[in-house]
């Protein structure tokens, strides 16, 4: 339909003060594709993810979703920062799931899922409720609709968080180490939901340490180290025949 990829990150540079955490990162994700970002901690994976929906700013480079430049308006060779309101509008197209779930503790699971469609998209309440219930059903938590986050296990909270992100009907889903804060026996239920999302054609960028998940679900694996992409390719290629010594070292340690 269109010639541009769903997500195009080009030569992204980001530093926190003196520390350069992204040093010219490129990332292309086609619609319906699942990309897993692997790499040691501090390699810039999470920062890259947070630059995609402008939770972090960056010093150079560009991020485009479905062809639309995120965070800036170009005139000539100058990028002017967009207003907070315009950036908020752009973020609607991108769902994000955090390592620590970040559910709203003063709202029930159902209210968490309904909040953004109600307030941001101004959808009618009844329609939103029906859709939110269906989303909770989809992540297997229909019966927990009235529970508050603190009454749910970590795995259940993360599944509500996924439903909450999906409620905005995003074009792209970002997952920032979604299972790293979970007890080992709860990891499976979250990965299960993510796997079914991937099978249904959701476009996903996933920062993860779950190599098994990456192998089964990813279309492409991107290995990052020290703010650079070291190698990328099909899971079999990167995981079974890594070209870089750093990649081999990392995979041996996981």
């Amino acid at each position: 339909m269109t010639e541009h990829p769903l997500l195009a990150v080009e030569r992204l540079h980001k530093s926190f003060g003196e520390l350069e955490v992204l040093r010219g990162v490129d990332l292309i994700v086609e619609a319906g594709q699942v990309t897993c970002l692997l790499g040691p901690s501090g390699s810039g994976k999470s920062t890259l993810l947070r630059c995609i929906n402008r939770l972090e700013n960056y010093q150079r480079g560009s991020v485009r979703i479905d062809g639309e430049r995120i965070g800036y308006r170009r005139s000539g060779n100058v990028l002017h920062e967009l207003s907070e309101r315009d950036i908020a509008r752009q973020r609607r197209a991108v769902g994000m799931v955090f390592q620590s779930f970040n559910l709203f503790p003063h709202m029930t699971a159902l209210e968490n899922v309904m909040e953004a469609p109600l307030r941001v998209l101004k959808e009618p309440r009844e329609e939103t409720r029906v859709r939110a219930e269906r989303l909770l059903e989809r992540v297997g938590l229909r019966e927990k609709a009235a529970s508050f986050p603190r009454e749910l296990s970590g795995g259940q909270q993360q599944r509500v968080a996924i439903a909450r992100a999906l409620a905005m009907r995003p074009k792209l889903m970002l997952f920032d180490e979604p299972t790293s804060a979970l007890d080992p026996e709860l990891v499976g239920e979250v990965l299960g939901v993510m796997t079914s999302l991937a099978r249904e054609g959701t476009t996903m960028v996933v920062v993860t340490h779950e190599i098994g998940f990456a192998r089964r679900v990813a279309d492409e694996i991107v290995f990052m180290d020290a703010g650079r992409v070291l190698e990328r390719g099909a899971p079999v290629r990167v995981l079974d025949a890594p070209r870089h010594a750093r990649t081999r070292e990392f995979l041996a340690g996981v």
């Binding site: 939770l55 907070e84 908020a88 991108v94 994000m96 709203f104 503790p105 953004a116 992100a165 905005m168």
Partner: protein, 305 residues
Amino acid sequence: MSSLEPSSSISAGSSGGGRPGSGEDPDDLVIVPRRQLGTWVLAAAVVIVVGSLLASLLRNPNLQLEVIGEYLFSAPILSGVRSTLELTALAMVIGVAGGVVIALMRLSRNPVLRAIANTYVWFFRGTPILVQLLFWGFLGAFYEHVGFGIPFTGDNFVEYPTESLLSPFVAAVLGLALNEAAYSSEVVRAGILSVGREQVQAAKALGMTGGQTMRRIIMPQAMVVIVPPLGNLAILMLKTTSLVSVIGGADLLTEAQQIYQQNFKTIPLLVVATLWYLAMVSVMTLGQRQLERRFGRGMTTVGVQ
């Protein structure tokens, strides 16, 4: 019992009958918590001390219980109670609204807004409320007229005599509310800062604007931290209103004073005022508990159910 079996087989050599230890049966033993003797000793001491104080108080003829009874529900006292409640309510509502605005200004990215808010808090927290009340009460002597006009020229489009605008009641509300705004802004700011940054990020990631995030996500959670100290401030305000007697506000204490300046029954009328203050503060404390429960939704075990 079945869970004991593995350990009994380990220590089987030490005792017979499959039971470890000295041969006693743990099922026959009754566990009694340690008696808290100190509680009873203290309670007895309190009864004696409080009892003797009460007895001496009630036997003192200067207390004049019949005078207290006579004035407790008299018209001037009741009207004083009403203005004390009105002053408290108005000063709190205006003060807290101002406090929210100042708190948001202090947390703003705009350095000019931050400077204005900081200066405001510095000034109103740095001067005694009594002095501020006197100042507002006597503003008419300083500026005889107030009006709107072109800055620096002294030409005004509209102009009013200060005395007609600033009645003692208005001056009292103004003084109390401006002071309250400074103090409550600190409470509100602490509440906002108590909500984790990750909540803001979650709201932003869903496309919520700054205003929506503040109203829907941050404030409801901040209320859990804000309500208890704000209830404290409200109770403090109820009693601070007694200071407006210096500028002729018709509050409870002023009314009581006016009566005892005529009949010299000072102590009984101060007791009347005390009883009313205690009653009003008790009701406010109940209200505060209700609010805490309401805003604790989802945060504490009390809030759930």
